[in-house]
Amino acid sequence: MKYAIHTLNKAFDHRVRLGVMAVLLANELVSFNDLKESLDLTDGNLASHVAALEKAGYVLVSKQFVGKKPNTTYAATTEGKLAFQQHLAALEKLLRS
């Protein structure tokens, strides 16, 4: 089955991106710090991967201020949820083949 591997989404071709999508699927709205904590990552590492997911249209980033502190929250877009579920299905298919 060399074809099944092509159905895997390139946007999720990294552990961190998979992790971000997993957290965003399990939770509606997640702050930068909570996301960082659940995945045990550094700021820069997380930011660059989230930016890639945002560019793909899978993650919605909204920046607000709580008092003087910037507060960034992330949510998966409908498209992102769908793409991630398809990715999971493709992984499962790979397992069975």
């Binding site: 552990r15 999971l88 992984l91």
Partner: protein, 226 residues
């Protein structure tokens, strides 16, 4: 960071674990339940001896028919006892859970799922507390214990979305005991002890045996055989 592992099974397992970990507070220690249960049993015993001393044998039942003045006189002690029990139980529970968090090597106890769990528990508990206070003041003392059990059970049921599945069954147990207490009001204090005391201890031991003891036994073996 490595690129995504080639093994799809490993990937799926990790994704599942991340989803679980990010939405549920899983570090709740079973010993927290045991500790809270022991506090509840001690509190129940103190309440029993206080009421017996004030109103003689069957002191608890006597409270149902006593005059308003007497009920108000007993309120500061009973309310104080309830609040002290809650504070002590929360403290003991926090200590054991903090210990487990440390042992698991987690950095913080105050994670998003932990906050969500606390809010989910606190809202029904606070509403139930005020509701039961009003029941007591309105001369419906026999409904106070059933009310406490049912509201607490609903709180656990509500919070179980954000933590271990056993909490859901602990909640259902409390609700059932609360409804039984409604039918046999004379046994209220006994059922209070059964629910808050034995219920916590039972489910605490169950959780400890299921999640923590295997890990500790494994860790112990690793220490013996390097």
């Amino acid at each position: 960071m490595k690129p995504a592992a080639q093994d799809p099974l490993a990937q799926l397992t990790e994704i599942r674990a991340i989803m679980e970990r990010s939405s549920r507070f899983l570090s709740l220690s079973g010993l927290s339940g045991v500790g809270a249960g022991v506090v509840a049993l001690a509190g129940t015993a103190i309440g029993h001896y206080y009421l017996r001393q004030e109103y003689g044998e069957q002191g608890y039942q006597r409270l149902f028919q006593t005059s308003e003045a007497e009920r108000l006189a007993a309120l500061p002690f009973l309310l104080g006892l309830a609040l002290a029990m809650m504070a002590a139980a929360v403290l003991v529970a926090a200590v054991f859970t903090l210990r487990r968090t440390r042992r698991d090597g987690l950095r913080s106890l105050w994670t998003a799922p932990a906050r969500r769990l606390l809010v989910a528990l606190l809202i029904p508990v606070a509403a139930g507390g005020l509701f039961c206070l009003k029941l007591y003041l309105s001369n419906a003392v026999e409904l106070v214990v059933p009310g406490m059990l049912v509201f607490y059970g609903l709180a656990l049921l509500n919070g179980s979305k954000y933590t271990l599945d056993e909490i859901r069954y602990l909640g259902l147990t409390q609700i059932a005991l609360g409804l039984v207490a409604l039918l046999v009001p004379g046994y209220g204090l006994l059922l209070f002890g059964a629910g808050f005391g034995l219920g916590h201890i039972g489910y605490g031991l169950l959780m400890y045996n299921r999640y923590e003891r295997p890990a500790r036994v494994a860790a112990g073996r690793a220490n013996i055989a390097p």
